[in-house]
């Protein structure tokens, strides 16, 4: 990056001081990442979510723009750009304007530390996991600002709800992540992945019963932090009209959704990194394409993405299947169940590590068998639903 | 209990009152009750073991031209499965009827509607406001002599004949 900045400085912008050029290059890079990376991810996820939701609801979903409606998100984005940008008279203007960008910033910056493969990472921070949680907290500020700045009571209720919800759920998130950190002995995401292996019995998910539970705590807590159903209380459309984004329109409105879908991806990435072995690819497969080649990196990326999209699918399915919980029930769940169990898991992992420094293979295989049974049961249920369903429900993904 | 038994039961209790039953040419019979006694009669109807009217099915006002208003009570009993219609007549110049909201909570809204559309003044009602129409509406539309205002807050209520335009 610095070489690139110097190159730019020498070739094109020699009239400016180097620090300014550095800044320009950094913003340029961020712009490229935003346009070329995060936006398509968020957009594609929006397409995926809409198609899955449509299939769950016996609809077709977007299928007109581009092949199979794949470019629908571009059309929506362009449409939003051309929409009138309404700012209510009573709104607190500066807050109202900044809020969506802050929300998006929180999600966007977390992409910096996501390990896409063993070498493809923007910055392998030695406090990567802390950085992830810290940037997620910026989102709360944005949501509260949006709620307050709109000058609408519904928005304010939504903002307050999101503040209460996200801050509460940071605690179980941190506790659950702590189990993986304890096992790896590092806060760096790359090192956490490197400490695991490509095979399921090497993942932290199956390392011991406590990490097994911690995975589910982290899953629930991250879904709650992302304001996704069944925890979408801040924007509960039937209660608070639309919550914190009630007064927004056009591109600003879209930014909230960008953030939501980006979070969906980050959620999958965090879970994959901490518990599912990240980008790890089996040695033999890696050797067959050459361990140092670009193909190996792509293979790692594909493995990472696959794991993420399985989780994303689960979250999307969850959203379109269950109703919304109530505020007090959600708080109860966090403080009365997730937090104590989280503490229990952290203590459990610590004791486990003391007792069995090398792990217990028997427990690992038992957990794998149990999970496999659960997955099989899930498929059996889905199969039965398809079998019992009437003709029009048959799955045909390409309509 | 059929209509005649019901009426005689009420007349036993309120012997001194001018309670008269009336059979219409078609449809249901009904009972006239003096306006100042409606609360007592309804209390009796509700509490009496043989009548046991626990439900006020319908309460409404009817214009009785030229200068009277009727309030109609359709009573019903879930226990005994019988019903009875009561009517009260008041004059338009002083349309006061005691509210039965205390006896039957459902009367709260039904009386508000009767007040709004017919203009019966229910004395003792806890919250006698207009319910269907805006608070600043003039007149009671379901009266036969109701004259529509020319405009409401600057909005014309009439529209020109399309053929003459």
């Amino acid at each position: 990056m610095e070489n690139f900045a110097i190159h730019i400085h020498e070739s094109y912008l020699y009239g400016l001081p180097l620090s300014v050029v550095n800044l320009i290059v950094m913003f340029g890079a961020a712009f490229v990442v935003l346009l070329g990376f995060v936006a398509p991810f968020a957009g594609l996820l929006s397409f995926i979510e809409r198609r899955i939701a449509a299939r769950i609801q016996c609809r077709i979903g977007p299928n007109r723009v581009g092949p199979q409606g794949l470019l629908q998100f571009l059309a929506d984005g362009v449409k939003s750009l051309f929409k009138e940008d309404l700012i209510p008279k009573v709104a607190d203007k500066p807050l109202f304007i900044i809020a969506p960008y802050l929300v998006f910033l929180g999600m966007f910056t977390s992409f910096v530390v996501l390990p896409f493969s063993s070498q493809w990472i923007v910055a392998d921070l030695n406090v990567g996991i802390l950085y992830l949680f810290a940037t997620a907290a910026i989102t709360v500020v944005g949501l509260v600002m949006a709620g307050w700045g709109s000058g609408s009571k519904w928005s304010m209720l939504g903002g307050m709800r999101s503040a209460a919800q996200i801050i509460s759920y940071e605690i179980p998130t941190g506790l659950a992540a702590l189990t993986a950190i304890l096992l790896a002995g590092s806060l760096s995401l790359q090192e956490i992945i490197a400490a695991q292996g490509p095979h399921p019995w090497q993942w932290y998910f199956f390392d011991n019963p406590f990490t097994f539970i911690a995975f589910f705590i982290l899953f629930v807590a991250l879904v709650a932090e992302g304001n996704r159903a069944p925890f979408d209380l801040p924007e509960a459309e039937t209660e608070l009209v639309s919550g914190y984004n009630t007064e927004y329109s056009g591109m600003r409105f879209l930014f909230f959704f960008f953030a939501e879908w980006a979070h969906l991806y980050v959620l999958g990435a965090i879970l994959t990194t901490l518990f599912l072995g990240g980008w790890q690819v089996p040695e033999s497969l890696l050797a067959s394409v050459g361990a140092e080649s670009i193909a190996a990196r792509i293979l790692e990326l594909v493995f990472f993405q696959l794991k993420i999209y399985v989780l994303v699918f689960l979250v999307v399915q969850l959203r379109w299947t269950v109703p919304r919980v109530r505020m007090d029930q959600m708080m109860d769940m966090c403080w009365k169940y997730l937090v104590p169990i989280g503490f229990f898991c952290v203590a459990g992992v610590a004791i486990w590590m003391m007792l069995f420094p090398d792990g217990v293979s028997f427990v690992k295989y038992l957990l794998i068998a149990f999970s496999s049974a659960m997955v099989l049961y899930y498929f059996y249920k889905v199969y039965r639903n398809f079998k019992d369903s009437r003709a029009e429900l048959e799955l045909n993904p390409f309509v | 209990m059929n209509f005649n038994n019901q009426v005689s039961r009420i007349k036993e209790k309120f012997a001194d009152l001018e309670i008269k039953s009336e059979e219409s040419q078609a449809g249901d019979p009904y009972v006239w009750v003096p306006a100042n006694k409606i609360t007592e009669v309804l209390t009796f109807l509700r509490d009496d073991e043989e009548l046991a009217f626990d439900c006020l099915s319908n309460l409404t006002g009817v214009d009785a031209p030229p200068d009277d208003l009727d309030v109609v009570y359709h009573m019903f009993s879930y226990n005994k499965q019988h019903s009875l219609t009561l009517k009260v007549r008041v004059s338009k110049s002083k349309p006061d009827v005691a509210s039965v909201e205390k006896l039957y909570p459902t009367a709260n809204w039904q009386e508000r509607e009767a007040y709004d559309l017919i203009g019966v003044n229910f004395t003792g009602h806890s919250d006698l406001r207009r319910i269907m129409l805006p608070d600043d509406w003039v007149g009671h539309p379901l009266r036969k002599d109701y004259q529509e205002e020319e405009e409401y807050r600057g909005i014309d209520t009439t529209r020109p004949n399309l053929l003459e335009m």
Binding site: Q57, K153 | Q25, A26, G27, T106, M132, L142
Partner: protein, 371 residues
């Protein structure tokens, strides 16, 4: 010294996603918990009762559709019955059967929409879409029957406007055979969901005494444990010839009369309607669909109050005739109006999210409140 706090006044409606039409609630809330919610109705008042005094008897029929557009057949039937009673008309048996078929199909339409709306208001979008999909099929049947999909005006004074089209019975039976498993699926999908139970059980409990005192009717009344159905207990039309059960709330997940009970009662009523329809299709006799009716309807002087079991319960028509071509007074007593009046009492101290559940579970329909 504590921090000074004050209640927040929230204006819920007339445009709010969960008020099902244009109803307004003035909510005073202390954060998430409300201190009171005062309903403000009248935004959809179209003075249907005044129109009834201006129209001739036949001409008022389409307006009864608009009184309750989700259950127009039942509203039609009630009005036809009250006029027939004043005129002393006998109507052919086939017409009675056709009316009941139409009314029960309409009950399915209305209830399935209500069930979907409850799930929607609790935050589950999918059941609503599934419910609407089935509703469309019933709408198709209705279209075959009378050419309309929402406001039918199918019932006429003295009978019905058209006979069944050829093949209607087969088509309906085919639909019902498909619809019955759907209801089982729906019952599996929604009321057995843990979050759904948590959100509805014990929420908005209406006791038996309150239900009668506030004159709740129909499924809401039955959910509170009152075993009462006009079709069975003050029977009319051909209902005495049909076998059906009256579902009553039992408080299977919480307290009798909670939102969950109201939901379950509606599901069970749909199943009863399916059985009623099958019986009707098996029994329906040949004959006229429209009886002998006078060219000019001039009922004798008198008055009549007729109650029918509409989708939202007891729908009462009070008609006064002064012997002329027009009614002297038409009064429509609807279930939603009285359901609405209980909200202020029950909603004290509820959470904001529960108010939404409660309103949805009462199945209030704005035009029916305001008329």
């Amino acid at each position: 010294m504590g921090i000074q706090t004050e209640e927040m006044m929230l204006n819920m409606g007339p445009q709010h996603p969960s008020t099902h039409g244009v109803i307004r609630f003035v909510v005073k809330s202390d954060g998430e918990v409300m201190t009171e919610a005062v309903p403000d109705v009248g935004y959809l008042h179209r003075s249907i009762e005044k129109i009834g005094e201006i129209c001739e008897y036949n001409g008022f029929m389409p307006y009864t559709d608009r009184a309750d557009y989700l259950s127009a057949m039942n509203a039609n039937q009630g009005y036809a019955m009250v006029v027939e009673k004043l005129l002393g008309l006998e109507i052919p048996e086939r017409a009675e059967y056709l009316r009941v078929i139409a009314a029960e199909l309409n009950r399915i339409i209305s209830h399935i929409l209500s069930l979907g709306a409850v799930a929607m208001d609790i935050g589950a979008a999918t059941p609503f879409v599934l419910a609407l999909k089935e509703r469309e099929k019933v709408n198709d049947l209705m279209e075959a029957l009378c050419g309309q999909r929402l406001t039918y005006s199918y019932v006429r004074i003295g009978g019905v406007s058209y006979d069944m089209p050829p093949g209607f019975i087969e088509r309906s039976l085919k639909f019902l055979a498909d619809f019955e498993p759907f209801m089982d699926e729906f019952e599996n999908l929604v009321p057995e969901n843990k979050i759904f139970i948590e959100r509805t059980a014990g929420v908005g409990v209406i006791t038996r005494e309150d239900a009668i005192a506030y004159n709740l009717v129909g499924p809401n009344l039955r959910a509170s444990g009152v075993d009462w159905d006009l079709r069975r207990d003050m029977t009319y039309s051909v209902y005495p010839k049909l076998q059906f059960e009256v579902p009553v709330g039992v408080g299977s997940q919480g307290v009798v009369g909670d939102s969950f009970d109201r939901f379950i009662v509606r599901i069970k009523e749909i199943k009863q309607s399916i059985s009623l329809l099958k019986q009707c299709f098996a029994q329906i006799p040949e004959g006229d669909f429209l009886g002998e009716i006078p060219r000019v309807m001039k009922p004798a002087v008198g008055e009549c109050y007729v109650r029918t079991e509409s989708s939202r319960g007891d729908m009462g028509y009070y008609l006064i005739s002064d012997g002329s071509k027009n009614a002297f007074r038409v009064r429509i007593r609807t279930g939603s109006f009285t359901s609405m009046s209980i909200i202020e009492k029950i909603s004290r101290g509820m959470m904001l999210a529960d108010l939404v559940t409660f309103i949805a579970s009462l199945d209030v329909v704005a035009p029916e409140i305001d008329r």
